[in-house]
Symmetry: C2
Subunit: 345 residues, 2 copies
DNA sequence: GCTCAAATTTAAAACGTTTGCAATTGAGCT
DNA sequence: AGCTCAATTGCAAACGTTTTAAATTTGAGC
């Protein structure tokens, strides 16, 4: 604002603007003595470069953009909170700032993303929650705009930069854990939305079942639209009140697992005595909801921090081959799972 | 990026740049016919103004800054999630964008705020969670930089723009509610940190007690540092295991109330039969933790949206007298409070 | 003391807008 | 036809940097 300009600083030092600019950027072509003198003066007078001017000539904004995905009533849920935290942490390490855009009521997420990209206010963007046919990715790829996705496509041939939790193995691990505890009848509460993580997690579970090769294993699946509370409750109850009830139920993510626990309690079932429940994500509420939800730590925050690093590399180095990374989730064993019930089977 | 420039657009229209600029901004000095022609061409060629250039000359960035306050392990908690959501919503209505800065490990929150302000990357900032002697406010006031605080100072003479929840009356309401249910012995779990909301809430409670004028009312207070889980548990238990235990306990905010409920259960107390518990904020976990925490909806999201509007007004109109606003919290009556226990008193 | 290259610094253009002021146009009047 | 005045439009400066190319200074070698 009222801050010193480069010209003024140069005047006080009786040196040309160009030299001052170079000195501050540490250009070795400038004599060391001059560089030190300039740096010192800049510090002393509290010179702060005007980002707009710098951006105008460099073409880089120093911002990474993030469009908050449209969703239910609460925009920033547990996942996004973690994610943004990590992203901020990661970016600040690289001297980048975070530009957050929300989607106004009438407009589409894509149009906002377009605004972010085309206004030149961001040098790259991070795209969370990948859908099966994601128009955001299509747009960014076509436009060759730097981005990193959190999540991947099902078709691994799609060439772009992504980082994802290895939910395939995590869901395999859940199955193995419960199988070892004697469970043979599983219920999965899933979503009907076209998100890729849904397929990956289901695949992880199914692959593990197939690997085990035990024909007595049963898997029932019930799905509901993502943020439709009523339908979700109905889906959960369709499994809970089936003729033969699963002994272990898995939520595609914690919110679903919590709903399972609620409905089970309502139905008079005791967890984990009558029913084992496992989730995925380890959201805050998972620790509070009795008896404590067994789940997987998706390490969202670490993931986001790493994504920040990846994106900065991509912006600066413009690598030709995509960078991809898998993060291994970690089991958080709480009290909602246990051995298969002896009775009633 | 590869987007059309104003000069190019002007060339195609065979009109001067200045005219095009004015036409696009809707300047009535430009003939209507020309304006329409330009607008149409801009739309057709997909012209997007370069924000950096615009910012350089106008001196305005179109960004509102927000420095994520330093805190415990999880930066973006429930409060901040709600707040950022509302802020984004509010800003987008005014065509402004949100610039989020995180505080790197070694640096102070103030230094980051200074960076945001002095780099000219934001036209105004929003400051959450006001402390008793808040150096951020002191800095912004001295610098005369536009800002709105979420929260106020105790000394109401401090002249700046703020919006706050009317926690004084809310805590009075809590007291009245519990008093009517027969409670006379209250326990308040508070924090020892120098945040102004702590004093305001305690004051609300004390004022209500004084107003009632019943000398049999007892209020015990225990405090712990904000994010010190161990000390918090100890503070809670100091009240729970006192010679005479309060029949109603109030958490300064929901996290504390949830801890009260946890520790009470651990001590074998049934809620609300043996103990009533009330919180404040209505965080997500409040609904999940059994038997459902009675609390106040602080309307953080609405508040943030309104703050966005206030800030835009301040940036554009530069009013001379401060804008202040109180938001009335709303009771969310769940199952954690009830009549005073008949026995044991 | 001179030459020439290396080291250092300077001048000026460029980035893409906005905006004050001057210039042009054309209609209405005399 | 000439003049005035308002309505339009054009010109050019300015915003604060970075960076290219040119100019200047320095200093080593003879």
């Amino acid at each position: 604002m009222a801050s010193l300009t480069l010209r003024e600083l140069a005047a006080r030092l009786d040196i040309s603007v160009g030299t001052v600019s170079r000195a501050l950027s540490g250009d070795p072509a400038i004599a060391l003595k001059t560089r030190e003198r300039v740096t010192e003066a800049a510090r002393q007078y509290g010179y702060v470069p005007n980002m707009a001017a710098r951006q105008l000539v460099s073409g880089r904004s120093g911002f990474v953009g993030f469009v908050i995905p449209v969703r239910g009533p609460n925009f920033i849920d547990s996942y996004l909170g973690e994610f943004l935290t990590g992203l901020g942490e990661g970016l600040v390490e690289h001297g980048m700032d975070l530009f957050i855009a929300t989607v106004p009521a009438g407009r589409s997420e894509l149009s906002v993303l377009r605004h972010v990209v085309e206004s030149g206010r961001a040098d790259g963007v991070v795209v969370p929650r990948i859908g099966e046919a994601d128009e955001r990715l299509a747009y960014l790829l076509e436009r060759r705009f730097p981005f990193v996705a959190h999540g991947r496509m099902l078709d691994s041939s799609a060439a772009f930069n992504w980082l994802d939790a290895d939910s395939v193995s995590a869901f395999g691990e859940i199955f193995d854990l419960l199988y070892e505890l004697g469970h043979r009848h599983f219920g999965l509460v899933s979503i009907s939305d076209p998100m890729t993580f849904r397929h990956l997690r289901e695949r992880g579970l199914r692959d593990a079942i197939a690997r085990r090769g035990d024909p007595t294993v049963i898997l029932d699946v019930a799905s509901a639209p993502r943020f439709d509370r009523g339908a979700t409750v109905a889906a959960v109850n369709s499994l809970l009140h089936a003729q033969r009830r699963p002994t272990a139920m898995i939520g595609l993510f914690d919110e679903l697992a919590l709903t399972i626990m609620e409905e089970a309690s309502r139905a008079g079932l005791s967890i984990p005595r009558d029913l084992s429940v496992v989730g995925f994500d380890n959201i805050t509420a998972a620790a509070y909801a009795p008896p404590g939800l067994t789940t997987f730590e998706a390490r969202t925050r670490d993931s986001a921090r790493e994504i920040a690093g990846m994106l900065v590399t991509i912006i600066e180095k413009k690598p030709t081959t995509p960078i991809t990374r898998l993060i291994a989730p970690k089991l958080v064993a709480r009290a909602s799972h246990g051995p298969v019930p002896e009775t009633g089977r």
